[in-house]
Amino acid sequence: MMPSTPIALVAASVQDTAGRVAFVPKPGGPPDTSAYMWGGYAVAAIVYAGYVMVLRRRIAHTRRAP
C-alpha cells in the first residue's frame, strides 16, 4: 500500500518529536541543559533538608514523650 504523503516530503518536513528527545545540539556550543542541572540540585537539597527535618522531629518527639 502506498503512503499518502511522498517520502521525500516527509523527510524534508520538520519532525515534531513531542518531547521524545532531550535536546537538539546547537552549532554554537553545548546544549542548554541548565533546567536539568537545577532540577537535580533542587531534588538533592529537598531530600537532605527533608531528612534533617525528619530527624529533628524524631528527636523532639522522643524528648517530649512522657
Binding site: G29, P30, G40, V47, Y48, Y51, R63
Partner: protein, 248 residues
Amino acid sequence: MALVSSTTRGPGANSSSASAPWLRVDDHGVDVLMIVAALACIGAVVRALFFTPADAMLGAVQKIFYIHVPAAVVGLYIACGLLAVSSIMYLWIKDDRIDRLAESSAEVGLVFMGVVLTTGPIWGRSSWGTWWAWEARLTSTLFLWLLVLAYLVLRGAVESQESRARLSAVMGSLAALLVPFIHLTVTLFRGMHPEPVVLAPEKPKLPIEMLTTFGFSTVAFLLLFVALLRMRYRWATMRDARAALESA
C-alpha cells in the same frame, strides 16, 4: 575506641552513651557539626554551579556529577561499608551500640543512595534521552536500595531486641556484598553508564578545575554523612534509653 570496646548487653545497659562527648549538642540544641557540614555543602554547590566550567558536550547538566558521584561514593562505599563492618562486629561481640551504628548507617546510606537514584535519571534524561534504562549499574544500585529498605523494614517488624539485631546484622552484611558487584558492573557488562572517571585504573580523566570541585564536593558530602549519622545515632540512643525506662 569506646564505641566498640564495650561488651555490655541489653537496651538499658548503654543508655549512658546518650551523653557520650561525640554525641553532645549545646544547651540550645545547636548541632555545630551539622552547621559546618551544611556550610561545606553550600560552598561546594556554589563552586560547582558558578565557578566550574560546563562540559563542552553535555552542557550544564554535567554539573550533576558533583552531587551524583559524591553521594554514590558516600552512600555505597562508606555507608554500606560501615553497615557491613558494624553488622559483622555485632554478630561477633553483641554490643547494642554497634547495632545502632549499623541501623543508622543503613538509614543515612539509604538517603544518599536515594539522591543517587533520583539525580542519575535527571542527568540520564538529558544525556541519554531517557529517564531510566534497565542496564546493570542502574538496576543493581536500585536492588541495593531496595535491600537496605528491606533491612530497615525488617528491623521494624521484629519485636525482640536481640532477634532484631541478630537478623538485621545477617541481612546487613549480606546486602553490602552487592557493593563490589555494583562497582564492577560498568566493566563486566556492556551498558549505558559511563566507566569511572575519577577512580579510573590509570588516572582521573577530569580537568584539574573539575577534579578540584569534585574533591571539595566529596569532602562536603562526607561531612554531611558524619553529621547525619551522628544525629541518627543520637536519636536511636535516646529511643532505646526511653524504651528501657518504660519496660523497667
